[in-house]
Amino acid sequence: MDKPELITRLKEIVGPENVLSSEMDLMLYSYDASLDKAKPDVVVLPDSTEEVSKIMTLAYKEKIPILGRGSGTNLTGGTVPLKGGIVVHFSRMNRILEIDYANRTATVQPGIITLDLQTKVLKNGFVYQPDPASQKVSTIGGNVAENSGGPHCLKYGVTSNHVLGLEVVLNDGTVINTGGKARDHAGYDIAALIVGSEGTIGLVTQAILKLERAPEAVKTMLAVFNAVEDGANTVSAIIAEGIIPATLEMMDNTVMRAVEETIKVGYPLDAACVLIIELDGMPEGMDENAEKIMEICRQNNVREVKMAKDEAERTVLWAGRKGAFGSVGQVRPSYLCCDGTVPRTKLPEVLSQVIELGKKYNLPIGNVFHAGDGNLHPLIMFDERDEDERQRVLKISTEILKACADAGGTISGEHGVGMEKLKETAFIFNEADLEFERQIKRAFDPDDIINPGKMIPAASKAD
């Protein structure tokens, strides 16, 4: 099928105003928050599961690559249409279909902005826990595809721990429902397979999410350290003491400086790093735990610990953390965010390797990350227009991921493999592991049209 005919057929399905195909439009859909770029042939904005099913059926019959997209905040090229074809943008399917407080569930379309849902349920005293830093713009569909994390995942788990059910359009246009409001469905855990599948299995058109009562009390602390190692050791010591905070986030000097230039949170600019430590739950016992944490900080040479006095102060402490990625744009025009994860006891060791790599390749690296989870996010800052810098960035990234894998960790904690880390999958998987993943992919997409070229490296042609 040639391109004009494809466009005609898609216009029949969703209406002419919901098919985008100008050069400018295609350019706008050619990138996400990673460094990769590729243009689609056409962008389509469906308004219902039925329309998505029709689009998928068309793609299936004509063997056209097809890819779902939310806000495009993906950091590994997951939403870049590598092989062209159709981009299905879910911006119109952004409704909250039902909030069922009695059953503690929210049923939503994939295009809903994560924070919009969270703001709405919080008014009734409920929370949807996963809180990626991009929650102001990211969509639930994207969170589901990438199995997004966030600071509070330390205590509450990642997206897959909060998805109860999904409606999915399969490769041939079949619409299926998996899971639901009742727990423990018999059979394979299909929802767990789809969450984090980076959009390679099908298009998610609806999600049933778990809601929980908002914690009764929250206590947020900012601990300031003169050495990164002290901060990292504090993280391990808190967990080893038997306290699981809601968050244990670290930010180093480079990032704090960038944040202060844009947001002005009042971070101490002469410190090496800060930890944002938050406790939540029932207030009973919380003061004792906060005191224990402060004692651990003191044992690890903390310079000072500040406690947020009220919600306003808490919001300010968090504003810096949530805005950190955006702020580093002040330092250099581009950044690459690595997402390596290590057992948390390995943090000090791997962090110092990261710092060494920055020196070796002569590029600034800022660290802002989920320390409690051992989930590093070194932000390597550079100028994308400088090809030499770009090559150095890719080298650092690979070496950081190798260091994480060697420390018993993994190449992605929450951003996915996408296009960016295909090569690095070799650090953690052998050929049998990858072949098993290919088998799963083949079960659902034998023609390789659904987000092709992502997450699983192609089998080597040698054998």
Partner: protein, 481 residues
């Protein structure tokens, strides 16, 4: 007649003579729903499991994996069974990393040994070690890490089940209310795929999105996608204080109103259970308060920091009184642990007492719990059946057992019909009824896995791709997956 000793000879050379048993009097003990395997094999590690599976592929043999055998009554009878693969020799704890709060164990390690390993210096443990050691059948793991941690899983058969069996069957219990499910705490696995390949997924990091989540896919897959060999599990620090509040109610409606009141608050109990007096009466624990033979008992587990437990005890007791509770009692520390072990063993206790027992797990949206249970109880009463019900009030899950003697064919027929009616009711609300155990002869009349949903097409595609020749536990899982 086939000489099975000869047929399995090459495998015996790999695993050692005594680890491949074809003697009929032994294989008979490993029958699955009265289907006797031709051989029982005991690999010592993951590599040997891979050898076993490769052998099965060459010879076209059907395999069923087995741990302690506590859940062998689940599922349909196997369509074909050549070899039972026992994990009992795979009983090593490979890595206990308490500062990182993860541990990696082999599939055949018993759940109780894991918990014992993590006990404190003073032997404070998630399970009542004193009770377990008193049994004396086999020594509980005495190698202690003195970490004061536990793995947050609360399965039935806690004193016997292996971790592999618990994970393969997604076995859960009352305290999932606070700690969630096995799928939420398994962060890495090694599994032998149906083609004999050894696969790894996940690891020691609590977050991992590198590739498909094979670990979660394997949880609850009943050994039909591969044999679970090693798993990495998150652990938690032991709660500072543990206690249980028990109280009795005249009716399910009263008990249910009480538990709903708890869920209107922001308190965080570890479990909130309602059971009928018969269920409570069958708990194998001495020194329990006498709640009489009528009505319902609510049990609330509190596991938290001491001040939080204190407040929950006070407030929840008040709610119980206002809700018309009769007798109430508080079980502390050791008694708390003994009580929840007795709850975990309720299923085992009933297995022993009732030869024709039919057990089922109901699921439904949690707001409909009262309606579903009352419907169920009325169906059972009308059929004149003896029954127990035990609900996880905050999760929309109910266990029920129909207490039947195998010789009583009339009661069995009524029970089969009652389960059918209950399934119909649960399906109306997008729930289901999964039979957890029934005599082999009755299984053909029951829908062992309830009814399927539209995602079955995906399960089927997956199974056909991963186990194309169907050697893994054929016929036992949902619609023969």
């Amino acid at each position: 007649m086939v000489d099975y000793a000869d047929k399995f000879k090459s495998l015996a050379e790999t695993l050692g003579e005594k680890n491949v048993n074809t003697a009929p009097k032994i294989t008979a003990q490993y029958a699955v729903d009265e289907v006797v395997p031709h051989a029982v094999v005991f690999p010592k590690n993951t590599d040997q499991v891979a050898e076993v599976v490769k052998f099965a592929n060459q010879e076209g043999l059907a395999i069923v994996a087995r741990g302690s055998g506590t859940k062998m009554a689940m599922g349909n009878p196997p369509q074909k069974l050549d070899m039972v693969v026992c994990t009992s020799r795979m009983n090593h704890m490979l890595d206990v990393d308490t500062s990182n709060l993860t541990m990696t164990v082999e599939a055949g390690v018993r759940f109780r040994d894991i918990q014992a390993r993590l006990a404190t210096q003073e032997d404070r443990c998630y399970l009542p070690l004193e009770d377990l050691e008193a049994e004396g059948d086999e020594v509980v793991c005495s190698d202690r890490s003195h970490s004061g941690c536990f793995i947050p899983i609360d399965p039935p058969y806690a004193d016997r089940a292996t971790i592999g069996g618990i994970i393969a069957t997604n076995s859960t219990g009352p305290r999932r209310l606070l700690y969630n499910l096995p799928r939420d705490c398994i962060i890495g696995i090694r599994v032998v795929a149906p083609n004999g390949d050894i696969l790894g997924s996940g690891g020691k990091t609590v977050k991992n999105v590198s590739g498909y989540d094979i670990s979660k896919l394997m949880v609850g897959s009943m050994g039909t996608l591969g044999i679970l060999c090693e798993m990495t599990i998150r652990m938690l620090p032991l709660p500072e204080k543990m206690e249980t509040l028990l109280c009795s109610f005249a009716s399910f409606a009263d008990a249910s109103a009480f538990t709903e009141a708890i869920f209107e608050t922001r308190l965080l109990p570890a479990a909130v259970e309602i059971m009928n007096a018969d269920a409570f009466g069958h708990l194998s624990m001495g020194d329990l308060p006498d709640f009489g033979s009528q009505g319902y008992v609510a049990a609330v587990a509190l596991e938290a920091f001491e001040p939080a437990v204190g407040r929950m005890r006070t407030e929840i007791r008040d709610m119980a009184k206002q809700g018309g509770a009769g007798v109430d009692a508080v079980l502390e520390e050791h008694d708390h642990r003994s009580f929840w072990l007795a709850m975990s063993n309720l299923s085992a206790t009933l297995d022993q007492k009732f030869s024709g027992l039919i057990k089922a797990k109901l699921n439904y949206p949690l707001s409909l719990g009262k309606n579903i249970i009352e419907t169920g109880v009325s169906i059972f009463s009308q059929a004149n059946l003896d029954y127990i019900v035990q609900t996880h009030a905050g999760n929309g899950i109910c266990f029920t057992g129909l207490l039947i003697d195998q010789k009583d064919t009339d009661a069995t027929d009524k029970a089969v019909e009652a389960m059918g009616q209950l399934l119909g009711r649960c399906r109306e609300v997008d729930g289901n009824v999964v039979i957890q155990g029934a005599p082999a002869a009755v299984k053909g009349k029951l829908k062992m896995w309830g009814e399927i949903d539209s995602d079955f097409v995906m399960m089927k595609r997956l199974k056909d791709q991963i186990d194309p020749t169907g050697i893994m536990s054929p016929g036992r899982f949902v619609e023969g997956l």
